[in-house]
Assembly symmetry: C2
Homo-oligomer: 189 residues x 2
């Protein structure tokens, strides 16, 4: 199962949208401030090579155009299958940890294009449900941290607030999907 990194999945997701060269991908990571991914060639190019070795992408040299030859990568059927399997994993408590919260967001970011809005909405609901059952245990832990210095307690508090902000986001996003679904229903009438 653990046959790919987060960066690898990010690359698969982007290549599912359109064929891109390594340089294109680097530019995307460099210009999208949200991304937690490095745009360094030492990260991107080896990652693309690994994906190719595993048969998840295929790169072809595109001649004649522009300056130096570009190697343009496309996702393969096998790659798409792997990507979808990764996105389809159930959300478990462990995914909630901050270390892995970026992974959930990445899974969600490409959901519309791989599975459509119904699945994206279902993902959000699962996410919100899991989060809202996790937060109370965090709050409880925080309550036991009274003897700490103020800065330490506040730092812990910021962690909890991150989760609460994420939950608010999920609920707002659910509402956004529901509203859009209603609108498209009306249009069909």
């Amino acid at each position: 199962m653990k046959d790919n990194t987060l960066l690898g999945y990010a690359l698969l997701g982007l290549l599912h949208q359109q064929p891109l060269s390594g340089y294109d991908l680097r530019k995307i990571f460099a210009s999208t401030p949200i991304g937690e991914f490095s745009d360094s060639p030492g990260a991107i190019y080896p990652a693309l090579r690994r994906l190719q070795e595993r048969g998840l992408v295929r790169g072809v040299v595109e001649e004649s155009k522009g300056l130096r030859k570009r190697r343009v990568f496309r996702i393969t059927p096998k790659g798409l299958t792997s990507f979808k399997a990764w996105q389809s994993q159930p959300i478990v408590r462990d995914d909630m940890m901050i270390r892995r919260s970026g992974e959930l967001l990445l899974r969600f970011a490409f959901m519309d294009q791989t599975f459509g809005p119904e699945r994206a909405l279902a993902f959000l609901r699962e996410f919100a449900r899991e989060l809202s059952s996790y937060i109370p245990s965090l709050r409880q832990h925080l309550a036991h941290a009274n003897e700490m210095p103020l800065s330490g307690r506040l730092a812990l508090e910021s962690g909890v607030q991150d989760y609460e902000a994420r939950l608010r986001w999920a609920r707002k996003s659910i509402a956004a999907y529901e509203q859009r679904n209603n609108e498209s229903k009306k249009e069909r009438l």
Copy 2:
């Protein structure tokens, strides 16, 4: 400058509070859900050894007590100097990126005990100032992402909301410090 990892600084901060063994530290990381640190022996023990090689901590075997021999680590003067230097770095735009936001929180978490509440408060103000100048540029970037599918746009949106939540936290924390300062002033009257 880059002579220590985040984990290394976390260890230094905890050892500044009190002497601890590797096992103690593992338990702390395992039981504190906020921490983004691994409690695996393969992370902790090598990290402690590195800190010791660099003269930042010193471990002494504590005999006779309990089961197996424990090696208890203490921070050295050199270690404390290094820790304080790390905490004292100015906050720059690059620190705002999510990849490094955990580092700022860690720096802050131990601020009361190393520098006292005035410096902690100053840190929060610097943090809030830097954040509030960063967020508009994120919002602007988000505004240009209209052609994206909904899930992608929402994922970006969640990134921005993380920053906004962090800013609200900083402002609340500033207020908490100011209130406490006022109370201690009154007590002195």
